[in-house]
């Protein structure tokens, strides 16, 4: 049991640290200055380009595609050193972490050559266009339709939702239905979509807090070239599963607890002389903190597994359940201790209290995560499926009649 680097890893860490030492002055600040988001985005893109040139982006991408051809531990070392240097990481985590690897696995040579370079360098940011208003948990139920015309081009109509970064993305990877007359998993295809094409509209989706954390994206008769398909027509579901696997990996390698650290929550309580000696407050804080501390070593265990060549399984989703619920309990506790002042709109706690209910469903509801883990990890039998083998078009008709 050892939390230290191997000699090779230590050498790599020094190399990364040296590069950061030389270039940290060129980095933009961690957060955008008030009212200057445009310029800040541009600076973040430039910085991503520098990181890519320095070999600190696409660490696990193959060398021939502009990456470093290294392993997940090296990626974590880069993440840690970037964190310690107090500079931002790459802007396009979704592209480089999840969508690029999907293209690498399923894309054509032309697609890789055209897109991977600008993605890696931050010249073109990408977004993930999977979820829809009626297809969240049941992702294979997407209704966005792409129709093949006689000219070999596709016409896309539909709506996506919960799309991070759509407002400044150049491209999106989009899951659409290309055949409604086969069972739902079988009629899907994956497309590359130019976010600046005519017919694409992006609208910010405001959350409880009032901030627009996500976007809705609308497609009205958007024309896609025949070569926009990734991984073959009708193979969209398999391609999507690859993306989701890389999503889990990105989460598994993420920093502990999405920034919800035990010490952050302890600070406002330590500041209140009544609260810090109150047995009820201490019990609540102790339980929350112990849960969050566990996640730190859960991440190390995941890394150990990765080093051994294992891919993190769906059980890593349980860390998200623990994180979100602990963070909810922690912000509740803090508001109980601080009182209504903690609910002032300018308070970081009010923001977290607003943000967390949505986070509970983001990336799959807690219920769906528990189903998946129960079935895939514990081997429990699935629920009876009413949609098995039924053509998608009939499914929708059935639902409409049931709620009519």
């Amino acid at each position: 049991m050892d939390l230290n680097d191997t000699p090779e890893q230590a050498a790599y860490r020094i190399q990364v640290r040296e590069w950061l030492g030389e270039h940290r002055e060129e980095a933009p600040p961690l957060r955008a200055p008030e009212g200057d988001e445009e310029a800040y985005l541009a600076a973040r893109r430039t910085w991503q380009g520098k990181l890519a040139e320095g070999g600190l982006a696409g660490v696990v991408w193959p060398k021939e595609l502009g990456g470093q051809g290294l392993g997940p531990i090296e990626q974590v070392i880069v993440n840690q050193e970037i964190g310690d240097a107090g500079v931002p990481g790459i802007l396009d985590v979704i592209g480089v972490g999840m969508l690029g690897p999907t293209l690498i696995a399923h894309g054509s040579d032309e697609q890789k050559n055209r897109h991977l370079g600008p993605m890696l360098h931050g010249d073109e940011v990408w977004c993930q266009l999977f979820s829809e208003p009626a297809a969240g948990s049941d992702l294979a139920g997407v209704q966005s339709r792409a129709k093949l015309g006689d000219d070999g081009r596709w016409t896309l109509n539909g709506q996506k939702v919960w799309t991070t970064n759509a407002q400044f993305s150049s491209y999106g990877l989009l899951l659409a239905r290309t055949d409604a007359d086969v069972p739902k998993h079988k009629g899907l295809s994956m497309f590359i979509v130019d976010m600046n094409a005519p017919g694409v509209t992006t609208r910010g989706l405001r959350q409880i807090s009032g901030e627009a954390e996500f976007n809705e994206v609308f497609f009205d008769d958007v024309v896609l070239e025949g070569d926009a398909v990734v991984g073959g027509v009708g193979n969209g579901w398999g391609t999507a599963l690859t993306t989701l696997m890389f999503e889990r990996l990105t989460i598994g390698l993420g920093s502990e607890g999405l920034g919800y650290r035990a010490d952050r929550f302890a600070a406002p309580i330590a500041a209140d002389p009544n609260a810090r000696v109150d047995p009820d407050v201490r019990k609540r804080l102790g339980e929350i903190a112990a849960d969050l501390l566990a996640l730190r070593f859960t991440a190390y265990r995941t890394l150990t597994a990765l080093q051994g060549g294992q891919i993190p399984g769906p059980e890593s989703a349980l860390a998200k359940v623990t994180t979100v619920n602990a963070a909810i309990a922690a912000t509740d506790l803090i508001a109980d201790v601080v009182g209504p002042e903690a609910l002032d709109e300018s308070s970081e706690w009010a923001y977290a209290i607003s943000f967390l209910p949505g986070l509970k469903s983001a990336g799959g509801t807690e219920e769906i995560l528990r189903n998946t883990v129960g079935e895939r990890v514990l081997g429990l039998p699935p629920e009876p499926r009413l949609d098995k083998g039924i053509p998608f078009s009939e499914l929708r008709a059935k639902e409409r009649s049931a709620t009519a």
Binding site: Q207, D272, N274, L343, T365, E367, L386, I390
Partner: protein
């Protein structure tokens, strides 16, 4: 034994629902978060006779009981209607008992009153206390402290019924109020500065001052029950019409059991409104226990119902356009006012421990 509502009570409830339905209070709640104006419901409340609900008939009121007031508050809670009754009703009740000269104006609603409440002593402390500005401690009521914080319904009130040291009650006119809206724009809230106001002692017993506190607890409890009712209705309706994997989501146990959990805590909360209503009218020695229990259970119900409602709606339930977040905001603030759900729960324990120790 009969806990059915009387015909008058049924009428009171229906009338309240009808009167409030003339305003789109939920849309107003959202707009108010961005600076929109809330509708002024006080004329409606006055017209309906709610202002004088707890004032005796000879002083121009309706001479009704706490349970009747709770029925109105349930309706307010259902639609997040900003009617300042949690402040006004206990104040009017004290003014009535204390022989306040202008009581008829208070009963008619011409003068709006507000209780500047103090938490009565418990088995742990013999102090009367006010809400602290921030932090977990409470501060001794009145005297040296001249600012009462987080007073519900203070903005716009004319008559301040202030509970001070030892449960002494004074009428203050000319107090100044700093509005202190937080998170839930429908909750009228203010810091009341008593400096510069004229204060007149009101001749009521400290036991009445304590009952005014407990009365306020029952009213905020009733309001919570109404909000929980709406959350349950919203969530059940959505669970029937939203499909995933070919089934309505309400058919899944994980959803169904959460919805039933709302029903369970709602039923428990309702039962305690009856208890508080009965004790308020017929069993004064149990009113503190009953009111505190009602606040405790309904406060926790409000928290879980507003959260489950959002979760049942999935991602969409956490968006600005959805009504779920408005109810959630209500819950987050409500549970921390008037001593918070926590103080009420503590008092339930204190009452039982005192009895058991006696």
């Amino acid at each position: 034994m009969n806990l059915s509502l009387s015909d008058e009570q049924e009428f009171l409830r229906e009338a309240a629902r009808g009167a409030l339905s003339r305003f789109d209070t939920i849309a107003a709640a959202r707009e108010a978060l961005e600076g929109g104006e809330l509708p002024d419901l006080w004329p409606t409340a006055s017209e309906a006779g709610w202002a004088g609900l707890l004032v005796c008939e000879e002083h121009g009121g309706a001479g009704l009981h706490p349970f009747d007031a709770m029925l109105v508050l349930v309706e307010c809670g259902r639609v997040l209607a900003p009617v300042p009754l949690i402040g006004h009703l206990p104040a009017s009740w004290l003014l009535d008992r204390g022989g306040y000269a202008d009581i008829e104006a208070v009963a008619s609603g011409a003068k709006r009153a507000v209780l500047v409440p103090a938490q009565p002593p418990s088995d742990l402390s013999d102090l009367w206390t006010w809400e602290a500005e921030a932090g977990k401690a409470r501060v001794p009521a009145g005297d040296t402290t001249q600012v009462a914080h987080w007073v519900v319904d203070a903005p716009g009130a004319e008559v301040f019924v202030v509970v001070g040291p030892g449960g002494a009650v004074s009428v203050v006119e000319g107090a100044s109020v700093e509005s202190a809206a937080r998170y839930d724009a429908t909750r009228s809230l203010g810091h009341v500065s008593l400096v510069g106001g004229t204060s007149t002692r009101l001749d009521v017993d400290p036991a009445d001052a304590a009952n005014a506190w407990h009365l306020a607890q029952t009213l905020i409890a009733a309001e919570s029950v109404g909000t929980v009712e709406t959350c349950l209705e919203m969530a059940v309706a959505y669970a029937k019409e939203r499909f995933t994997f070919g089934r309505a989501i309400g058919s899944y146990q994980a959803m169904k059991h959460q919805l039933v959990e709302i029903l369970r805590v709602l039923e428990n909360s309702r039962s305690l409104l009856y208890y508080a209503g009965w004790a308020g009218e017929s069993k004064p020695e149990e009113f503190a226990l009953a009111a505190s229990a009602a606040r405790s259970v309904s406060g926790r119900a409000l928290d879980s119902a507003t959260r489950i409602n959002i979760a049942v709606h999935g991602g969409i339930g956490a968006t600005w356009e959805h009504d779920g977040p408005l109810f959630f905001r209500r819950a987050q603030l409500s549970r921390r006012l008037l001593g918070g759900t926590g103080a009420a729960t503590d008092r339930v324990a204190g009452e039982l421990l005192s009895s058991a120790g006696a």
